[in-house]
Symmetry: C2
Subunit: 676 residues, 2 copies
C-alpha cells in the first residue's frame, strides 16, 4: 500500500456494505450530540447577536436583552413541541420536505427543500466562522486569521464526514457532553458567586457604548420597537438546527419517532437553559459588545478602543470573569465551545447529503447525488456543501455578525410551511379516524402545530421585515434560484422519461444487416486489433476507411495495406479541407441513405494511456469524431482499446483501491448465477 | 442563417479548400508588407530604447546615440546579407529550425524552435504594446488604458488571422506602404527644414535629464562602456523580424528563394534608412526621454516633470516638431505607426502557427497543432499565440521598455545557431561540388554566413551580459522550459510508436467468439434499441446485464422483462456497495477468465442530448464505466446512441456550419468509389 493510500485509508476508513447500514443507527445518547449540537451551539453566537444589535441604541437598550432572551426561549419551546409531532408522524428522514410535499404538494415541498439546502450551507458557514472567532480569542497570535482557520476547519469536517455517519456520531459525542457540562457548570458557578456577592464584572463592563445618531435622543418610539424586533430576529438564530432531527429520524434506533421526540425535548430544554443563563449572566456582569467595536466602544477616558481591539464573544467574556481565580477554565470553555460549533457544522453535513439524495431520487437534482460513495455517505453532497460553505466564509471574511443576516429566514420558511402541512395532516387523518382516544390525541397535536404555525409565521414576518436589506435578500435569492433550478431539472427528466418510455406492444424492428466500418490512419497494432475484432463479429459488410489528409501518408498506408494483404478492403475518403470528422460523417450518412434498414457500426481504435497528460497527446480526433457520430441515427460507435504500457499505471491504481476489500469478501461472486 | 453565424462568416470568411492553397501565395509587392512589417515597425520603438537607456547617464551620453544607431544598422545589414543565403538554400518554411536541424542535429533545431516560439510571443506583446503607446499619445483621454487597448488589439489581430493568410496580406499591404511613405516623407521634410534652418526643436528639448547617482561623476570608464553596450543591445530590437521571411518562403511566388532574398534586401535597406533618419533627427531636434520620466526629466525651473507627464515616443515627438505648421501630419504619422505595429504582430501570427505545425508534424508538439482549421490557417496555434501574448501584456502592463528586456535574446540565439548551420551547409556541399563557378558561389556564401555568425554571436553575448538580470532570464527560462517540454513530447510519441509498431509477419489472431453484454437499467427505448442492435450483430453469446443497486427497481425491471418476453436473458449483478461500475467490471473480467480467446463487446445505451447542461444530467455513470472498461484487454465498448429530441438542436447547428459549402460542391462524393 502506497503512502497516499495509507493516508486515504486512515482518513476515510474501510468501505461499508449496504447490509452494514443498520450498524450505523444511533442510540439516543449518541443521537443527542450528533443532532443537538447545531441547536445547542447556537448559544455560542445568538446571545452575542442580541447584545450587538441592541448596542446600536447604546447601553440603555441593554435592559431589553433578557426580555428578548425569554421571548426567544419561548419560541424555541413552541417549535420543539411542534416538531415532536412531526418526527412521530414522518419518520423517513424526508423531514419538512416530506411533510410539505405530502400535505401541500410538490411546490411547497420544493420551497422547503430550497430553504433547507440554503440553510445547511449557512449553518456550516456561521458555525465554523464562530468557532474561528473563539479560537482567535483564546489564542492571541491567530487573531486576524479567522478566515483561514474557518476554511481549514470546514475541510476537516468534510473529511470526517466522508468517513460515514456512525464514526462521526461516536467521535462527536464526548465533546458535545463536555460542552453542556462546561457551559452549565460555568453558569452555575457564576450564579453561586453572584449570590455570595463574589462575581467580578466583565472586562468590558468599564466601556461605554456610543449609540448611533438616530438613537441619541433616547431609546423610545417606533425606532426602539423596530430595533427590539430586529434584535429578537437575530436572537432567533438560536433556533436553527432544531429541524435537523426531523431529517435524521432514520438514523435513530427503534422506536425511531419516539426516540427522536424525546431527544428533541431534551435538547430544547438544555438549549433554553443555556441561552437564558448566558444572557442573564451577561447582563449581571455588564458585558458590552458592538457591531463596530473600534469606534462604538468608548474607554472611560472618552477615547474609542480603536482598530487594535479584539471583541471577545459573550461566553469567553463570562468565563474569563467567572473563572478569574482558575484561568484554565477560560481555555476549557473556549475549547469546548469552538469544538461544539464545528460539530454543529457536522449536523449540516449529516442532513444536506441526505436531503440532496432524496431530491435526486425525486428527480430534482442530478442523479449523481443519489449514488452512494465508498463510505455509504453521499460523497457528492458532502463536497457540494463544503464548497458552498467555504465560498460564503471567504466572501464574508468569516464575520459571524454579517453571515447571521442571511441565516434564519430559510429555517423559518421551512418551519412555517412544515407546520401548515402538519395541520393539514391532522385534519386529513381526523376526517377518517373513528377511535375517540386517537381523535383526541390528533386534535391535541393539531392545536400544538397551530400554535407552532402562529409563532413561526410571526417570527418569519419579523425576520423578513427587519433583516431583508441587511442580507436576508441574498438567502432569499439563493432559495428562489435553487427552486427554479430544481424545478427545471425535474421537468427535464420528466420530458426525457416520457420521450423514452416504451408503449405497450411497441417493438423495435431488428436492423436487417450490419455494415461495419473500421477507421484506420496507420497500419499499427491498434488498427490491426480493431480489424481483427471487427472481423470476429462477422458483419454483413466490413471495410476499412481512411481519410486522405496528407497524400504522402495515405499512399504509404495503401502500399503497406497491399503488401501485407490485409483481408479487408480499404476505402480512401478525400478531404479537400484537411478535416477528419466531416468526410467520415458524410460517408456514414451516405451508407445510411443507401440502405436505411442497415445499422452502421463504426470501429475506432483507441489508445488507452495511464497519465492525464497523455490524454492530451492522443485520441483527440477520435473523441471529436465520436461525439459527432452519435448524432446520426442507426449508427453505433465501438471503441477498440489498445492498452499502452503506461495504462498499467492507471489499472494498478484502480486495483489497489479495491485490493484489501476484494481479499476480505467477494460479494459479486457469491450472488452471481452460474455462467453458461 | 442566425445572427451569430452571420457574424462568424463576416469575421472568419468562407472556408478554403486545400487546392485553393496556391491562391494564397504572395507576390513580392504583397509579401514585403506582410513579412517586412515586423522588421520595419521596430523603428517605432528601437530608437526610443537607445535614448531611454542612455538617459541613465544623463544627457552627456546622448552624444553616443547616433553612433550606436550606425552600429545597429551595420548588424542589420550583415544579418540581412546572411539570411539572403538562408532563404535561397532552404525554401520549405522551416527557416532557422530546418537549417539547424539538418546541419546541426535535432537538439540544435529544437533550441532554435524554442527561441523562435518565445520570440513570436514577444513580438506580439512588444509590437502591440508599442502601438497602444502611440494611440495613447495621439488620443489624450486613452492615456492610462494602454493595457486594455493592447489586449483588444491582440484579439482583433487574432480574428483577422483566423481568416487566413491571403486576405491578411492584401488588407495589410496598404498601411505598410503608407507607413514607409509617412516616415521617410517626414524624415525628408525634416532634413529639408533643417538645411533651411527652419527645423524647430522637439518639445522635450528644454528638459534636462538627471543622471543616476553612479554616473554623476561623468560618463567615462567601464561604467560608460557597459551602458553603451546595453544601449546597443536594446537598439538591436530593430533586428527582430528579419528572420520572419525565412519562415515564410513557401508563401512567396516562384522562384520562391530569389523573391524572398530580394524582399529581404529591400526591407533591410528601408529599415536601416528609417532607423538612422529617426535617430539623427532625434539628436538634431534635442529629443529627451527617460526610463522613469516622472523623476528623471527636469524642467528648466529645476522641478521634475512628475507623475502627470506622458512620455511620447520619438516618432511622435519628431512629427510634432516637423509638422508644427501642418498638425494633421502628426496624427497621420501616429496612426500609420500604430497600424504598422499591429501588422508586425501579424507577422508573428503568420509564423508561429506554421512553426508550431511543423513541430507538431515532427512530433514535438501535440498533433492537434498540425490540423488545419476551417480557414486553412492553423487555428490552434493562433489561439495559443494570442493567449500567451495577452498574458505578457497584462503581466507587464503593456510597458514596452520592460518587455524589450525579454526580447532579442531569442532572436539572436536562433540567428547564431542558424548561421553556424549555414556554414556547415556550405562546407558539406563544397565537399562534393566540382563545378568551379558553383564552388566560388558557395565559398562566397560561406564567407557571408561566417561574418554573420561572428556578428550575431557577439551581439548575443552582449545581450546576455547586459540584459540577463533585467528580464532576459525570463525569456531564457521559457526557452529552456519549452525545449524540455517538446523533447518530452517527442520521446513520448517515439515510445508509443515503437510500442504499437507492427513487426514483419506479425498477425493478430482472430478472437474465436464474440460475447455481447447489453447494459440495462430500465426497459426504455434506448435499452430496447441497444438490444435490437446487439441482436442484429448476431454474437455467439448475448445477454443483458443489470446492476442491483435499488432492489425495488430491479424487481420491477425483472417483472417487466418477463411480461414483455424480451428474447434476451437478463442477468442481475449484486452490488452490496451500491456501486455500478465495479460489479460490471468484475463480471466482464470473469467472462474473460472463463474463455480467454473470446472478445467481449459491451453495449451501453447512451442518451444524445443537444445542450451542454443536459450532459451533466445524463450518461455520467456510462461515461465513468466506459473509461474503466477500456483498461481491460479484449473488451470493446459500443455506444448505442438514442437521439433525444433536444439533440436536433446540436445536429442543426452542425449542419448549418457546413450548409453553404455543401451546396457549392460535394468533394467527398466526387472521389468516392462505387459502393458494393
Amino acid at each position: 500500500m502506497k503512502l497516499a493510500d495509507l493516508g486515504k485509508r486512515l482518513l476515510v476508513g474501510r468501505k461499508l456494505r449496504s447490509t452494514q447500514l443498520h450498524e450505523t443507527l444511533l442510540p439516543k445518547r449518541v443521537a443527542l450530540p450528533v443532532f443537538a449540537s447545531d441547536a445547542l451551539s447556537s448559544v455560542a453566537y445568538a446571545p452575542d447577536e442580541i447584545f450587538i444589535t441592541l448596542s446600536f441604541a447604546g447601553m440603555a437598550a441593554y435592559a431589553f436583552s433578557w426580555k428578548i432572551g425569554i421571548a426567544v426561549g419561548f419560541v424555541m419551546l413552541v417549535v420543539v413541541a411542534s416538531y415532536r409531532q412531526n418526527v412521530q408522524a414522518y419518520q423517513s428522514g424526508g423531514g419538512d420536505y416530506e411533510v410539505a410535499t405530502v400535505n401541500l404538494g410538490k411546490s411547497a415541498g420544493l420551497t422547503v427543500a430550497s430553504a433547507l439546502l440554503v440553510d445547511y450551507v449557512l449553518t456550516v458557514a456561521v458555525s465554523i466562522s464562530s468557532a474561528a472567532q473563539y479560537v482567535a480569542t483564546a489564542i492571541g497570535p491567530l487573531r486576524g486569521h479567522e478566515t483561514t482557520i474557518a476554511v481549514v476547519a470546514t475541510l476537516l469536517v468534510m473529511t470526517v464526514n466522508l468517513r460515514g455517519i456512525k464514526e462521526s456520531g461516536v467521535a462527536f459525542a464526548v465533546p458535545t457532553y463536555l460542552f453542556m457540562f462546561a457551559i452549565l457548570g460555568m453558569a452555575a458557578w457564576g450564579f453561586i458567586r453572584y449570590f455570595f456577592g463574589d462575581l467580578p464584572a466583565a472586562e468590558t463592563a468599564e466601556l461605554q457604548v456610543a449609540p448611533e445618531a438616530q438613537y441619541e435622543q433616547g431609546f423610545t418610539g417606533l425606532l426602539a420597537g423596530f430595533l427590539i424586533l430586529r434584535t429578537f430576529a437575530s436572537g432567533c438564530a438560536a433556533l436553527t438546527g432544531v429541524e435537523a432531527i426531523s431529517n435524521g429520524v432514520p438514523a435513530f434506533r427503534k422506536p425511531k419517532g419516539k426516540n427522536a421526540a424525546t431527544t428533541l425535548l431534551l435538547l430544547g430544554t438544555i438549549a433554553v437553559a443555556m441561552g437564558l443563563a448566558i444572557n442573564v449572566l451577561g447582563n449581571i456582569m455588564g458585558v458590552r459588545m458592538a457591531e463596530d467595536p473600534a469606534t462604538q466602544l468608548i474607554r472611560p477616558d472618552g477615547t474609542p478602543v480603536g482598530e487594535e481591539y479584539h471583541q471577545a464573544p459573550v461566553i469567553s467574556q463570562l468565563s474569563q470573569g467567572i473563572f478569574d481565580h482558575f484561568p484554565i477554565g477560560f481555555f476549557i470553555v473556549a475549547a469546548v465551545t469552538g469544538l461544539i460549533l464545528v460539530l454543529a457544522a457536522n449536523t449540516a453535513f449529516n442532513g444536506f447529503p441526505v436531503l440532496g439524495s432524496i431530491l435526486a431520487r425525486d428527480g430534482y437534482l442530478p442523479r449523481q447525488l443519489h449514488t452512494r460513495g465508498d463510505r455509504l455517505a453521499f460523497s457528492n453532497g458532502i463536497f457540494l456543501l463544503a464548497g458552498f460553505a467555504i465560498l460564503l466564509i471567504v466572501a464574508f471574511n468569516a464575520e459571524v455578525t454579517r453571515l447571521i443576516q442571511l441565516y434564519i429566514v430559510g429555517v423559518f420558511v421551512s418551519f412555517t410551511i412544515s407546520q401548515t402541512g402538519m395541520i393539514r395532516h391532522w385534519t386529513r387523518l381526523l376526517r377518517t379516524e373513528q377511535d375517540g382516544a386517537k381523535r383526541r390525541h390528533m386534535q391535541r397535536s393539531r392545536i400544538i402545530n397551530s400554535v407552532g404555525l402562529a409563532t413561526t409565521s410571526t417570527v418569519l414576518i419579523v425576520v423578513l421585515i427587519t433583516k431583508f436589506i441587511h442580507g436576508a435578500w441574498i438567502a432569499i435569492a439563493a432559495m428562489v434560484g435553487l427552486f427554479l433550478l430544481m424545478r427545471g431539472i425535474r421537468r427535464h427528466y420528466d420530458r426525457v422519461a416520457a420521450e423514452i418510455a416504451v408503449e405497450e406492444g411497441e417493438e423495435f424492428t431488428l436492423p436487417s444487416r450490419v455494415h461495419s466500418v473500421v477507421l484506420v490512419s496507420k497500419l499499427h497494432r491498434p488498427a490491426l486489433r480493431a480489424l481483427a475484432f471487427a472481423r470476429a463479429a462477422r458483419p454483413n459488410v466490413l471495410e476499412a476507411v481512411t481519410v486522405d489528409v496528407e497524400p504522402e501518408e495515405t499512399r504509404r498506408l495503401v502500399d503497406e495495406w497491399d503488401r501485407r494483404g490485409v483481408p479487408v478492403p480499404l476505402k480512401v475518403l478525400a478531404s479537400p479541407y484537411r478535416e477528419i470528422s466531416r468526410p467520415i460523417l458524410e460517408y456514414v450518412r451516405s451508407i445510411r441513405r443507401g440502405s436505411p434498414r442497415d445499422v452502421v457500426m463504426v470501429y475506432i481504435p483507441e489508445y488507452v494511456v495511464g497519465r492525464w497528460w497523455e490524454q492530451v497527446l492522443h485520441n483527440q480526433s477520435a473523441l471529436r469524431l465520436k461525439g459527432r457520430l452519435l448524432f446520426t441515427p442507426n449508427v453505433m460507435v465501438t471503441s477498440v482499446p489498445y492498452q499502452l504500457q503506461s495504462s498499467e499505471i492507471a489499472k494498478r491504481r484502480q486495483e489497489r483501491d479495491n485490493g484489501d476489500r476484494r481479499l476480505a469478501n467477494r460479494p459479486v461472486a457469491k450472488l452471481r448465477g452460474p455462467r453458461k
